[in-house]
Assembly symmetry: C2
Homo-oligomer: 250 residues x 2
């Protein structure tokens, strides 16, 4: 039967070169899924199932709830597909749910909101067990100042200054409707919610907010960075390991 299989995927991105399929390495999340699905669907050699992800995560970035869909001809049930994928995927990629979606469902085009979380460690001890999912800071940032700067970013803006791709042809206008900064003991979590994010945008936003947090930039400067439309004015790109895609909304 022709099915549009919707997958809810969780992965530890540490070992991978990001979400997106790359012809020269099997070490991408999409690539691993393709391998397993090709085998499950008994595709002929060289045939690759077309998996659409809600977005592309960078190398080293994690996801607790990536969404993807793939059209396939199969007699398997949702439960059978779930069990098959989890059995054959490596243990750093897990499928949490499989649903047969309507034929028109498209994981990327239909996404209306995304939630990311960036986790920072500012404790005195080494975060030995959490080290792959946190970015370690050298000192404790000024969180109220970071919140002040974050407030300037809320709304619909041209986020060109916060985009890694300087030759981005499509619109760089996005709506960020929520940035929450939570202190949980020695961990600081930055939650970013919006209708979409540009390449490296969450990491550049985090890097810029940390410039403010460590007093190297005034909170109000963030306004001027937005207006300038110049990547060089923003802060550095925060490392990938602290970032996790938490939710995709439809």
């Amino acid at each position: 039967m022709e099915r549009n299989i919707k997958l809810l995927i969780r992965y530890d991105g540490t070992r991978y070169f990001g979400w997106e399929h790359q012809p020269d390495t099997p070490m991408t999340i999409q690539g691993k899924l393709e391998q397993v699905l090709a085998r499950m669907l008994s595709l002929s050699e060289g045939e690759i199932p077309l998996i659409t992800g809600a977005g592309r995560t960078d190398a080293g970035v994690h996801a607790r709830a990536m969404v993807a869909n793939v059209h396939a001809d199969t007699e398997m049930t949702e439960e059978e597909i779930l069990a098959y994928c989890n059995r054959y995927l490596p243990d750093d990629i897990g499928i949490d749910r499989v649903v047969f979606a309507s034929p028109r469902f498209h994981a990327r085009y239909n996404a209306v909101g995304k939630l990311y979380c960036y986790s920072l460690w500012c404790g005195a001890k080494k975060p030995v067990f959490e080290r792959k999912y946190l970015t370690v800071l050298d000192g404790v940032p000024d969180v109220p100042a970071m919140r002040e700067a974050a407030a300037c970013l809320i709304g619909t803006h041209d986020f060109k200054s916060f985009c890694a791709n300087p030759r981005m042809k499509k619109s760089t206008v996005r709506t960020v409707d929520r940035i929450e900064i939570k202190e949980q003991g020695e961990i600081i979590r930055l939650y970013f919610h919006g209708n979409g994010f540009l390449q490296n945008m969450v990491r550049i936003l985090t890097g810029t907010l940390l410039e403010v947090g460590f007093g190297r930039m005034e909170p109000a400067q963030v306004m001027r960075i937005l207006e300038a439309g110049d990547r060089k004015m923003a802060g550095p790109t925060a490392p990938p390991e602290g970032l996790c895609l938490m939710k995709v909304e439809y």
Copy 2:
């Protein structure tokens, strides 16, 4: 100055062949500490600092609070030693505390109690982010039955049946004064507290309690295993990744 340096150590044992120094590989926790301390103390080549651990953890086993001591001649302060070690140790080994102990303090001989935790996963989803610190079960065990069996183990007994070394020359009598089994959502944690544990003892106890949990053994059978003094009567050795040394008491 002659110091007896006491270290509180946290480590992710995944990459290591256990705590104990091995001449043919640098991948032991003790070996890594020796390397860093030898450099810190400017020892001559081939000289190895004698580090005494409270016990030996197996390959793949973790620790949140291993205790060790090492006698050394140094002018450094406790804070300087802590910072030096954390800087040069790999990021899966962390020192949480450094204290100058009395010259007679011995991390192994003076230990009077130890607490271990064995963590089991019995959820439907794959524990992608916690996978290195849990043992995944295929089904949900009968926890009340496991508690009934655990109660038989409390007290001072000859634990020969639960010791990996059949030619153990020293006494195999130990006192286990507490086994608590806690259910935290999809994780089951087994806490073992006692005055000392034999080689693989916590893992064999866990493997045996799981035999009870999955109905392959009656709870009362545990009594007979203790009495038999025969390793072959006990359950299998549970895998190392679920085990963590939580505390050493003096």
